[in-house]
């Protein structure tokens, strides 16, 4: 009976994910998933052999409270951190359940653990703790509390990680041979925790979207291995779904940055790029500088305007100001669209959420592949807080570190306006030839202030 209800829950999760294929059905889908989870939890309380209700209910209450507080008070800009933190919690929970199962077998003499279960316990410990400490590093780096944005590299790093991994495997083999709470168990737990840190610190801030996706996948796999430990198909199905989801997103992010998966994991991207930037631009280049009034006139007479936002827009908290500007233009019959690069935010789909929060209707949010063919017919592109994702060097300059990365072809529009604080190269430290094109007008200033000035200037026309 319990297993039937678990199956029901697993089916509801599949439904939830299926309904995420459209924003129209997604809300109902999410609720379906939540109800499925509720059913599974209640069923477990009822028929799971629970004796100590006070402790279990206290845990449920405490966790629910934490979850609610996190969900209500986390700003949309900090969504990557929240997802990172929750990945870590999921991994740790799975590893703890596996540990508890080992303790149980250690203390109940009458039954011995099957080979499958004990191998699954080892895997669960390894994946679970790697996910936990890896996620904590990612969380702290995203919060910029430690390590900063640049990768932390030292000689022999990859060999050390390999050694840690092999040592974990050896500890796991010992654990499988003698499944009890002893030295191999503690050693495996410790090594996995250190390995999680070791694998995550060489990855810089710019690559965090990939890491978050990967850890998302790991947290699913950890739940999945726990399903093998407990012989629970519900956990296996749900864990696999999350594992698959994380892998797909990791792949999409890697493609959007034109990097191979191994390059992201071991490349230490961002540390090497600095030297390239130091080589600097060759010779003087001219920039056309514009002001709000001039730009407003061009924008007002345009038929089509595409706004290309980057994370810099979110940093400047300019989403609402940009929306105000777009509304002013729309009132004058200008067709406004937003061009969203897959890595425009700090996690997959992040920019869409940030704009949705500013009440931009989602039918104005265009994916890169769909908007790129439209740029040659676009009158004005307004680039706000984006840099590398609109850098034409990615298309034309084979020596550029971002060469080959798919970009928004904003330079093909009739006029390009770029709102930027200064000509300083961005996050990855790469110069951008877009700024020196004859059809580009630079609007120097803070993104939010400039967007408001533009809106005001248009109103006055």
């Amino acid at each position: 009976m319990l297993n039937l209800l678990y199956l029901l829950a697993a089916a509801s999760f599949i439904f939830a994910l299926k309904m995420l294929s459209s924003p129209k059905t997604a809300v109902v889908g999410n609720l379906t998933g939540a109800v499925g989870m509720l059913v599974a939890i209640v069923a477990t309380l009822y028929a799971g052999g629970v004796v100590d209700f006070p402790t279990v209910l206290a845990g449920i209450a405490l966790g629910s409270l934490f979850g609610l507080l996190l969900a209500i008070f986390t700003p949309m800009t900090a969504m990557p951190e929240m997802v990172g933190l929750l990945n870590g919690f999921g991994g740790a929970a799975s590893a703890l359940v596996a540990s508890a199962e080992l303790v149980r077998v250690h203390h109940t003499a009458e039954e011995s653990l099957g080979m499958v279960a004990i191998i699954a316990i080892s895997l669960s410990l390894l994946i679970g703790w790697v996910t936990f400490t890896g996620s904590m590093v990612a969380f702290l780096r995203l919060r910029e509390w430690i390590l900063g944005g640049r990768p932390t590299l030292f000689p022999g790093q990859h060999w050390l990680n390999l050694a840690l991994f092999l040592a974990s495997v050896v500890a796991a083999v010992f654990l499988v041979q003698k499944p009890e709470v002893g030295t191999p168990f503690y050693v495996l737990t410790g090594l996995a925790a250190v390995l999680g840190v070791g694998l995550t610190i060489p990855i810089g801030g710019a690559d965090m979207p990939v890491v978050i996706c990967l850890l998302n996948s790991y947290s699913g796999m950890a739940a999945c291995t726990t399903g093998f430990v407990l012989n629970n198909n519900g956990l296996i199905i749900s864990g696999s779904l999350v594992g698959a989801s994380g892998i797909i997103l990791t792949n999409i992010m890697c493609k959007a940055m034109n990097r191979s998966f191994t390059n992201v994991l071991f490349g230490g991207f961002g540390a090497t790029v600095q030297e390239v930037a130091a080589a600097g631009p060759d010779g003087p280049k001219t920039v056309r500088r514009g002001d709000a009034e001039e730009a407003a006139m061009i924008l007002e007479s345009a038929r089509t305007v595409v706004i290309a936002p980057g994370y810099g827009m979110a940093v400047a908290q300019a989403q609402h100001a940009v929306k105000e500007l777009a509304d002013e233009l729309a009132k004058r019959g200008v067709d406004v669209k937003y061009a969203i690069h897959p890595v425009a935010g700090r996690m997959p789909g992040h920019m869409n959420v940030l704009l949705a929060e500013a009440q931009v209707p989602y039918d104005q949010l265009w994916e890169m592949d769909k908007i790129n063919p439209l740029f040659p017919e676009t009158d004005v592109v307004l680039v706000i807080g984006a840099n590398d994702v609109v850098n034409p060097a990615a298309r034309s300059d084979a020596s550029s570190p971002i060469y080959g990365m798919p970009i928004l072809d904003v330079d093909r529009a009739r006029t390009v306006m770029v709102i930027k604080r200064s000509l300083n190269p961005g996050f990855a430290g790469i110069d951008n030839p877009l700024y020196y094109l004859p059809n580009t007008m630079m609007l120097f200033g803070d993104a939010k202030k400039m967007a408001l000035e533009l809106a005001e200037a248009i109103r006055k026309l």
């Binding site: 294929s21 996190l70 998302n216 789909g349 959420v353």
Partner: protein
């Protein structure tokens, strides 16, 4: 052995279903997809509840308790924040 084959069957099929379903989620909703899958990976709470509720030692009980708290944070935090986010996506009037 039989139960292993059974579990592996379920696992392999679920991975295929996962790839099939998730590749249809548009980039527009990738962030809610991640927070929603956070909630789903909190399903490990079921194991945590059993471990805590049927603990044979106090050590096992505490391991289970912490697992329940962490997994439940995932479940409630994940579903709630996904709901909050999805509520922001609106069409043009």
């Amino acid at each position: 052995m039989e139960s292993l084959v059974m579990m592996l069957t379920v696992f392999v099929l679920a991975v295929f279903v996962g790839f099939e379903v998730i590749s249809k989620v548009p980039p527009l909703l990738h962030t809610p997809l991640m927070s929603g899958s956070n909630a789903i990976s909190g399903v490990t709470v079921l194991g945590a509840i059993i471990a805590t509720g049927a603990a044979v030692t106090s050590g096992m009980k505490w391991l289970g308790f912490v697992a329940v708290v962490l997994a439940m944070t995932n479940v409630v935090g994940g579903f709630t924040v996904t709901h909050r986010m999805l509520g922001m996506f609106r069409r043009k009037k």
